[in-house]
Amino acid sequence: MGQLEDELRATFAAAVRATPALENAAGRSITRAAEVRRRRTASAAIVAMIALVVGGAAAVAVRDGAPGKGPASTTTRPMSTTFANGLNTAAVPPVTVLSANEIILPDGQTVSLATLPPARRAYRTGQVWLVETWISQTRVFALWRVTMTGEARQLVEGRRIAVSSDGSQVAWSLDDSVQVGRITGDTVTAVKQTPGTAGFGPLAFVAGGVLLGRTQTGVGIDTYDMWFPSRGVYTVGPRRNETTFGPNADGTLLYGLDDSAVPCLAEIDPEKFRTVRTACVPGITSESTVYPSPDGHWLLIVGSDRVDLYDLTTMWTRPEPARSWTDGTATSVVWVEGQTFAAAAPSGLVTKVAPNGVQLGFGATGSPVFVIPRLS
């Protein structure tokens, strides 16, 4: 057997050494199978029936076999719970989270999203939530506006969706175009579009424009462009092997230069895709996720088994973490209340932490959560 084949075996074995735990895979499969059966039954029945869906906030379109959604009553969770491993902790995380199609507030109040498709993430904006759902079978994303009483209204749907950091704009891709519009109440107005192709879509709002991803190889996003709808400018980015981590607080883009000998972080000017500066911070990899604080002071780099906090005012010249947590990772992180962040562990345990490392509170729902950021 050749040398490359042996190295492939070693590479594959090493790549899967730290396999994440699966949460209730059998239960979810059984639930999804039941949905599939229900849809098949519904599809057969619908041949003989035309359903009229009357417009209005309380009557959203039928999605993925789910019934139309009316106002959902809010409920309150018990304030403590005991898990299977004997851990007794607060059943309510210290920040608002999305868990199992339910929004859970720190005071224990919940808003059910049970009649929506599976919710992947949510944002708080003013007195409403923007909830992003995803139907895996059809690969369709949708953005919903959900009120405090649980009334849901679909705003857009597409192959990919991005929401601006202030919650005022949304970009989404259709099969042949990318659209951007302003969220006004429960409608989207001032829509502009640019041509696109399948697999092409918005990733984030950056510096007054929209970062778009597309593929040239057919195996995932490998090229990033910038579209500035208000100026009618479209900048084609170079094809890179680097990872795009996302927007920085100052309007630049954070790229990972994983073609260098060791992975480094780069700050990129999104107007011209020019590298402004780089820092080879230890621990960052092409699989890391980065979370800059809104004030631009801190940068959290979340890896597979550690979380590092960097001071952005010194990181570019002295790339050493200000603080590291090496005993676990986070599935989602949100900066809250200025320089405090909340991190959700794969188990669903959410911890609220100050940059000095002081834990300000924790709680768990018992299932994976997405910490909901407040957009402003």
């Binding site: 492939l8 590479t11 790549a15 899967v16 895979a25 059998a26 195996v219 996003i221 795009t244």
Partner: protein
């Protein structure tokens, strides 16, 4: 078969085999979150087909075939800004940095191979399937498996050479996860 019995057997199967299937899914799609989605889809289809599958070996073979089929059509990689937590291949000590860099380079190039070529490599060199078994899973001929494999290895050699990386002569073959 009663629904309760089917469900119990399915739960046993998932408890026993989902870890291994998830690892294969990850190697096929290169992203743990996507791998979970792919696995979930494969398990759902497996559960729907459970009644006509019979013995456990057939179930696992079916699940693996569905997994590979789903993964090879699953070309859209998530943007990194959306991927919350993932795992690096290896964390080596200082004396293994060179080996780790080579392995990372190889893994990076494997990840951008066409899905079918990548699937052939995973089935042959991770699952240790024969060429005939690989052909059955992929639903292609043995000749196609051979040609896809040769093409993938050639591409990897070329790309590694362009980077000045040679597969380590003393590459350690590591144990597969359970």
């Amino acid at each position: 078969m009663a629904d309760g019995s089917v469900e119990a057997e399915f739960r046993q199967f998932v408890a026993a085999r989902s870890g291994a299937l998830l690892r294969t899914a990850y190697l096929l799609v290169g992203d743990w979150s996507h791998a979970e989605d792919v696995l979930q889809t494969a398990l759902t289809k497996t559960y729907l087909a459970w009644r006509r599958l019979g013995e456990i070996e057939a179930v696992e073979a079916y699940a693996r075939k569905v997994l590979v089929t789903t993964a090879t059509s699953w070309w859209r990689r998530r943007w990194h800004g959306e991927r919350p937590t993932l795992v690096l291949p290896d964390r080596a000590g200082p004396d293994r940095i060179s080996e780790q860099i080579e392995r990372q380079a190889l893994w990076r190039h494997v990840r951008v191979l066409p899905p079918r070529q990548r699937a052939v490599l995973v089935l042959r060199f991770y699952e240790d399937l024969t060429e005939a078994a690989t052909a059955r899973v992929l639903g292609v001929s043995v000749g196609t498996v051979k040609s896809q494999c040769a093409r993938a290895l050639s591409t990897l050699r070329t790309r590694l050479a362009q980077e000045g990386v040679e597969p380590a002569a003393s590459a350690t073959v590591m144990e597969k996860g359970a």
